[in-house]
């Protein structure tokens, strides 16, 4: 009994003693940060890094309110979020830690293997409704989208739909896994997922951003040499006044060892 009490108290003190660095934000970056934080802790047992998700917006508003040291984001910080930080008298540091490509996927039975950006825009805004309009068989197109809360949803809207709205009543699924599952079992389906999630149950589409002159398949080479168009950077944001505190971890993730974790998790490294 005595032992347990002493153990509990000492554990409690230990918890109070460690000043944990907090990372909060995008669910896309979450697996990467988690993996990196675990390895970082192994190398530096004295420091603790706690990682939580919730979405890019959640992370940045936590940074503004001071409840996190690093905000992880799958989109660039918005102008008014930046203004809020400036108003609070702080300045912001932005670091790109990795890249992620979005792949457009269809059911493996689909004959269509390439699409232009304009065609994708038509499909996701509801102007193109049948696969025969883009060179496929006579089959209704069923577009799947992510939920509005996801950074992926916003990025696809910005990059592919040029800020137009998705067609009203588009099917939206809560997770990437659900999108792959639905597309693998629905013949006319089309959707978009992060490059890291691709598997053999779905077929990847080659994309053209120059009105059909060249079609590019998303793979590591094409993403790195920037020929594949739907690529987004993944960011860490922190306040410059916290630089010393977060430096260790940020340097770690940019180091060759940290970048190895990036490619293990399925994202594309900086170099």
């Amino acid at each position: 009994m005595k032992k347990t009490i002493i153990l509990t108290i000492s554990l409690f003190c230990l918890v109070l003693n460690i000043k944990a660095q907090k990372i909060k934000g995008s669910d896309t970056v979450l697996p990467l940060s988690q993996e990196a934080a675990e390895n970082y802790k192994k190398k530096n047992p004295a420091s603790a890094v706690s990682v939580t998700g919730g979405g890019s917006g959640v992370g940045i508003s936590a940074l503004i309110s001071g409840t996190t040291e690093i905000a992880q984001a799958s989109r660039k910080i918005k102008f008014d979020e930046k203004l809020k930080i400036q108003e609070s008298g702080n300045s912001l540091k932005e670091i790109i830690i990795a890249y992620d490509a979005l792949s457009v996927i269809v059911n493996p039975s689909n004959k269509v293997s390439k699409l232009t950006r304009e065609q994708l825009e038509g499909i996701f805004t509801g102007k193109i409704t049948n696969w025969k309009e883009v060179g496929g068989e006579d089959l209704k197109i069923v577009p799947y989208s992510r939920e509005t809360s996801s950074g992926t949803y916003e990025f696809f809207k910005e990059s592919v739909l040029k800020n137009k709205n998705y067609k009203s009543g588009i099917m939206s699924l809560p997770a990437t896994g659900a999108i792959i599952q639905s597309i693998s079992q629905t013949k006319g389906a089309i959707g978009y997922v992060g490059f890291a999630y691709l598997n053999t149950k779905v077929k990847t589409i080659n994309i053209s951003y120059d009105k059909g002159k060249t079609y590019v398949i998303p793979n590591i080479t094409n993403v790195k040499n920037k020929t594949y168009p739907i690529v987004r950077p993944l960011y860490y944001y922190y306040l410059t006044k916290n630089s010393n505190k977060v430096k260790g971890f940020v340097d770690y993730i940019l180091s060759p060892e940290g970048q190895k974790i990036v490619s293990n998790v399925g994202y594309i490294t900086l170099k």
Partner: protein
């Protein structure tokens, strides 16, 4: 020894009293909080907070409604004539574009030249509609005109047919598709679950032997203990492809799929409550029926079911209540397309699924956040009405027994 016992009793009584009053106060506070946050929506402007829409002062347009704003920024309306202006194509200008026209140096270190540049752009283009933060338009020059924007109205919310909560410049919060989706899925679920559940309840209480009952009853109770996300996963992987194949439709995520899952989930509620009601039929009534020469089946449908009818109605209503509030399973199998359903083989989006899917990223205190709370209020009203009705029905039952 008697005296201290009394003190203990008193103490216990006090503790119970306190815990019950704390519980009621907490519930009341939750409801007040819900409504307070939700009704904030009607104090928010139609255009995103802190932003304004600006046009050239030569443009005769003075007022644009939210749906028109959405259509303009989607490129569906591309001429001012469509909304009553001059014959002139619309030039869309989003705030971010300023950074591709001018460099950061031209805009100044703290963006001090930004307002002037914005004014220039608007002055040069008579067909412009520009969307940017109000703080850069504090002194509106003679060339620029702000489009007057109203606050979001109750009718926009209650009668709106489009739910596009993250659209800029003006999000649309119309709950009609969500309410219809929720009701459709729930009532369809009850339509499927009721005959099944009632059959099982009659079988268990009237026909089954004690041994069979001892196996089936716990199995049904087990059904109630399965987490809803497991139901959802089962639905997505097993039921969705089946519905797709059997119904020969383009996508298996439909209202019908959702209601199948909900029907399975509502079964335990319906079975146990209606079984209790059926069991409560007095023995004297059954025996009189048999004495008059009625068969078992005649007794069941002429005596037992009419007697238990109010209990069965309560079971139905509680089942609907379960279905209306269900979140995770529905989120995974109905496809979540926010569109007014025309058939049961179309994707629908329910209120709980909307709240669960969107609350994570809605900025705290913003219009989207408030709209989601208001959805919570609507859901609360639904279940409140259902509880009141079921309460009334069971009261009727008690008065009949007395």
């Amino acid at each position: 020894m008697r005296f201290p016992m009394k003190i203990v009793e008193r103490l216990l009584e006090g503790v119970f009293k306190m815990s019950s009053s704390i519980t009621s106060i907490v519930i009341l506070l939750i409801i007040i909080f819900l409504f307070k946050e939700g009704f904030g929506l009607f104090r928010s402007p139609v255009v995103e907070n802190g932003y304004g829409l600006y046009i050239n002062s030569k443009n005769p347009i003075a007022d644009i409604n939210p749906t028109q704003i959405k259509q303009i920024f989607d490129g569906e309306i591309d001429n001012w004539k469509t909304i009553g202006g001059n014959e002139e194509s619309i030039y869309l200008f989003r705030f971010d574009e300023i950074f591709s026209i001018y460099t950061d140096e031209e805009l100044g270190e703290n963006y001090q030249f930004l307002p002037q540049k914005l004014n220039n752009i608007i002055a040069e283009n008579s067909n412009i509609i520009a969307f940017f933060p109000k703080k850069y338009m504090q002194e509106i020059s003679s060339n620029t005109k702000e489009i007057a924007t109203k606050n979001i109205e109750i009718t926009d919310f209650v009668l709106g047919k489009e739910w596009l909560p993250t659209t800029t410049p003006s999000p649309l919060f119309g709950i009609v598709p969500l309410v219809l989706g929720t009701l459709l899925v729930s009532f369809l679920a009850i339509l499927i679950a009721l005959p099944l559940g009632l059959g099982v309840a009659i079988y268990l209480s009237e026909i089954a032997s004690n041994r069979v009952r001892g196996i089936i009853r716990p199995a049904i109770e087990l059904l109630a203990g399965i987490p809803s996300v497991v139901y959802g996963f089962f639905g997505l992987v097993i039921i969705v492809p089946i519905v797709q194949k059997v119904g020969n439709i383009s996508a298996g995520e439909t209202a019908f799929t959702g209601s199948l899952i909900l029907a399975i989930m509502a079964l335990p509620t319906i079975i146990s409550i209606s079984e209790d009601a059926i069991r409560n039929t007095p023995l004297a009534l059954r025996e009189s029926s048999y004495a008059l020469g009625a068969t078992q089946w005649q007794t069941i449908y002429k005596i037992v079911i009419p007697y238990a009818s109010s209990g069965i109605s309560a079971a139905i209503i509680l089942g609907i209540g379960r279905a209306i509030g269900e979140t995770m399973a529905v989120l995974m199998v109905t496809g979540n397309g926010a569109v007014i359903p025309h058939s049961i083989f179309e994707s629908v989006r329910t209120i709980p699924a909307t709240i669960a899917a969107e609350l994570g990223e809605a900025p705290i205190g913003g219009t989207h956040y408030q709209a989601l709370f208001l959805l919570g209020c609507v859901l609360f009203l639904f279940t409140l009405i259902l509880s009141i009705v079921s309460e009334l029905i069971s009261k009727k039952q008690t008065s009949k027994t007395a």
